[in-house]
């Protein structure tokens, strides 16, 4: 009986998680390594370009897309602890890198390595990779040998509300994966009326239209089920928005806001 070689992946931390969720990045790597994945982290990684894309700076977004494509390497899965950045790469890079970057001049450049990159097909949000590429949920029930690594039950009894980041949900089609992983680790995922509604982050939108953005966060926070221990999401941007708003309102008794990767790492035990 032959064994497939352990998969190796490239990990892009994303600039938001690198700066604000450093622990979650380590947790994501711990989870991946737990399942036998060899993780490499290119030190040249910076920002995927989403802020520039969302503000209409196509030329700048394209430059950042080129850089990220070069950094991410030529083969193997590229895993991110963010649905939004993964969505940017999967759904926006092909058009950014194939069209001329300048709207003003219509010059046609030669297609370079970035244009023909397979990165958009290889990019994965963490839970997506764990469920679909590694099949970690199936392992739980498989009868393979004792040595097969599995999810643990470290979240037993924890009441979790899961916020679906819009881009994970709509650009990647990631919906059930994080919920199934959390449940497999013993968490009780509470039903949340507004779980698929936008939290109002939207990158610079949150600073350009602060009042509207905050109203959207309020709608999420006000509809949270009672007695939730933790609000979690695959996206750090959304968590900053929700926790920042909760901190501003300071109504007391707020749940903690924790990145999905951190909960999954706790779930291993």
């Amino acid at each position: 009986m032959t064994h497939a070689p352990p998969p190796s992946v490239t990990f892009l931390a994303t600039c938001v998680a690198d700066r604000f969720f450093a622990d979650a990045c380590w947790d994501a790597i711990t989870v991946l390594e737990h399942f036998g994945v060899s993780v490499s982290v290119p030190l040249g990684q910076t920002c995927c370009g989403q802020p520039a894309h969302n503000t209409g700076r196509r030329e700048e977004a394209t430059r950042m897309a080129r850089h990220t494509t070069r950094v991410a390497g030529q083969a193997g899965a590229v895993v991110l602890p963010s649905g939004s950045c993964a969505g940017m790469i999967r759904s926006c890079y092909p058009s950014l890198l194939s069209r001329d970057t300048s709207l003003k001049n219509g010059s046609i450049r030669e297609r370079g390595a970035e244009e023909t990159s397979t990165l958009p097909d290889r990019v994965r949000e963490l839970s997506e990779f764990l469920v679909h590429d590694l099949g970690v949920l199936g392992r739980r029930w498989s009868d393979s040998g004792e040595a097969t690594p599995r999810l643990g039950s470290g979240l037993e009894g924890m009441r979790v509300a899961y916020h679906h980041g819009c881009h994970a949900l709509r650009e990647l089609g990631v919906r059930d994966e994080p919920l199934a992983l959390l449940r497999a680790c013993g968490a009780r995922v509470e039903s949340w009326d507004g779980d698929m509604e936008c939290c109002g982050f939207g990158g610079l939108f949150s600073a350009k239209f602060p009042e509207v953005s905050a109203g959207m966060a309020d709608r999420k926070l006000d509809s949270l089920p009672e007695d939730v221990d933790v609000v979690t999401s695959a996206d750090g941007g959304c968590l900053l928005q929700l926790s920042g708003r909760a901190g501003h309102r300071a109504t007391g008794g707020e749940p903690s806001f924790t990145h999905l990767a951190t909960l999954l790492r706790r779930g291993l035990t």
């Binding site: 931390a13 600039c15 998680a17 690198d18 700066r19 604000f20 450093a22 622990d23 990045c25 380590w26 982290v41 030190l43 990684q45 910076t46 920002c47 370009g49 802020p51 520039a52 894309h53 969302n54 503000t55 209409g56 700076r57 196509r58 030329e59 700048e60 977004a61 430059r63 950042m64 850089h67 709207l103 003003k104 819009c166 881009h167 949900l169 650009e171 509604e197 936008c198 109002g200 939207g202 610079l204 939108f205 949150s206 600073a207 350009k208 239209f209 602060p210 009042e211 509207v212 953005s213 109203g215 959207m216 709608r219 900053l240 926790s243 920042g244 708003r245 909760a246 901190g247 501003h248």
Partner: protein, 444 residues
């Protein structure tokens, strides 16, 4: 206002979900998208065919390049008839071109006969929703309004309010010299004007007055009479969650010899008002597929917060934000394309698959290219991109962000200020992940 809008929008959105779950949603959307795209890519042919069909039915066809031209056509018809009063069916196109003000300026009494339009006409407010113009007003708002105007009780039931409006309108319907409507669709092969409604006021407005004028955006054409069936159902399911509107009027010309009911004259005014230019846009032309169902408004978390008036013109919500630059011009529409978190809920519900988030980004790109975005934002993004290409410098900048005492200085920093107005400062990690990772690698 916010609670009225949120509640009404959510209810409509939930009804839409139920109605679309009953049909092959993807199949219907593909069909409708392809049909509208076909019309838009052969629009000149279908407009000519429609003109011939309408003329053969005895309708008079007018062409209006601008909103002002369209208003002039209607005023000239009214003057020829020495008309004094007009009853109007709900029409977003007439809101777009400001017809009511023009008619009133010409000395005509104008009565909106859709109940929602009736309410906002009394309040002298513009519509806040494509389908439910008075959606921002609560039942209690309406009770107070009707109490002041018509003396109904302050706790009158919705049925009583509707009955009161009906009594007020009845004489106006009978006295009106002119009935004005829009059109949901117009079949080119048979020259049929299709109108969907729930209250019956459109049927009355288009059949009792001696003259009916329908204002039709040129994008409203469909090739064949038989296409109407699917589009009428699709629009109703998207707009209100009904399988079909309570009334569907299919108007095929004026009263014929031997017929007892119907107008003596039917005029169709084809209105361009920027649509041809929009059609020529290589990206934004897809907006013209819109059937004005309002589904994107109902599902939009921004619309639910702001209501429709914040958008500043007839069309609000996601579709309003992408249509405004197309019809009013980009400069006049700022900052609408930016007033979205790009959550994508709108694209998910659009029955004709308009890629709304992509088009919001497209207008943003155009705005940035035309210098309509803040200079500071432009500079920041240029610096950000350059830093991103230089990882060492990017790392130093990211370290610096973490070292900023945001609680103390955040309110004085651009961009961060907007965040700090409504949120606590984000807490950076003690050390960035990439710093700790590289140290670990060096140690190995």
């Amino acid at each position: 206002m916010r609670s009225a809008v949120t509640a009404a929008a959510r209810t409509k959105d939930e009804r839409r979900q139920v109605a679309w779950a009953q049909i092959d949603a993807d199949g219907w959307r593909d069909w409708a998208r392809d049909l509208k795209t076909h019309v838009l890519t052969h629009l000149d042919d279908y407009l000519q065919q429609a003109e011939q069909s309408l003329a053969a039915n005895g309708c008079k066809v007018h062409w209006a390049a601008t909103g002002a031209d369209a208003c002039d056509v209607v005023v000239r018809i009214a003057e020829r008839l020495s008309a004094r009063s007009v009853v109007k069916a709900k029409s977003m196109l007439t809101e777009e071109i400001g017809l009511n003000g023009r008619l009133e300026g010409a000395g005509l009494a104008v009565r909106e006969t859709d109940l929602g339009e009736f309410i906002i006409q009394l309040l002298d407010e513009p519509p806040s929703h494509i389908v439910g113009p008075s959606l921002h007003r609560s039942l209690d708002d309406c009770r107070r309004l009707f109490h002041e105007r018509f003396g109904t009780a302050l706790d009158a039931s919705p049925e009583t309010l509707a009955a009161t409006a009906r009594v007020v309108m009845r004489d106006e319907f009978l006295d009106a010299d002119l009935g004005i409507s829009g059109a949901n669709f117009l079949a080119a092969d048979t020259g049929t004007v299709a109108l969907i409604e729930n209250e019956g006021n459109i049927r009355i407005s288009t059949s009792i007055p001696k003259v009916h004028v329908a204002l039709v955006g040129i994008e409203k054409l469909v090739p064949r009479f038989e296409d109407l069936s699917g589009l009428i159902q699709l629009t109703a399911r998207s707009a209100t969650g009904q399988p079909i509107g309570n009334y569907v009027s299919l108007i095929q010309g004026p009263r014929r010899a031997g017929e007892r009911d119907g107008p003596d004259e039917v005029h169709v005014v084809f209105v361009d008002n920027g649509r041809t230019n929009l059609l020529a846009d290589p990206e934004a032309w897809e907006i013209l597929r819109c059937v004005r169902c309002g589904a994107c408004l109902n599902t939009c978390p921004v619309y639910r917060q702001t209501g429709g008036h914040a958008y500043g013109w007839a069309y609000s919500g996601p579709i309003g934000a992408i249509l405004a630059p197309g019809l009013l011009g980009l400069r006049a529409s700022m900052p609408l394309p930016f007033a979205s978190s790009l959550c994508g809920a709108c694209a998910e519900v659009c029955p004709v698959r308009i890629p709304i988030p992509e088009l919001l980004v497209y207008w943003r790109e155009r705005a940035a290219a035309e210098g309509l975005t803040p200079a500071l934002e432009t500079a920041t993004m240029k610096i950000w991109a350059t830093l991103s290409e230089h990882p060492d410098a990017f790392g130093v900048a990211a370290d610096a962000v973490g070292a900023l005492p945001l609680d103390a200085v955040g309110r004085r920093l651009p961009v961060v200020r907007g965040w700090m107005e409504e949120r606590a400062a984000p807490q950076p990690s003690r050390e960035r992940f990439l710093r700790t990772w590289s140290r670990k690698e060096e140690g190995q």
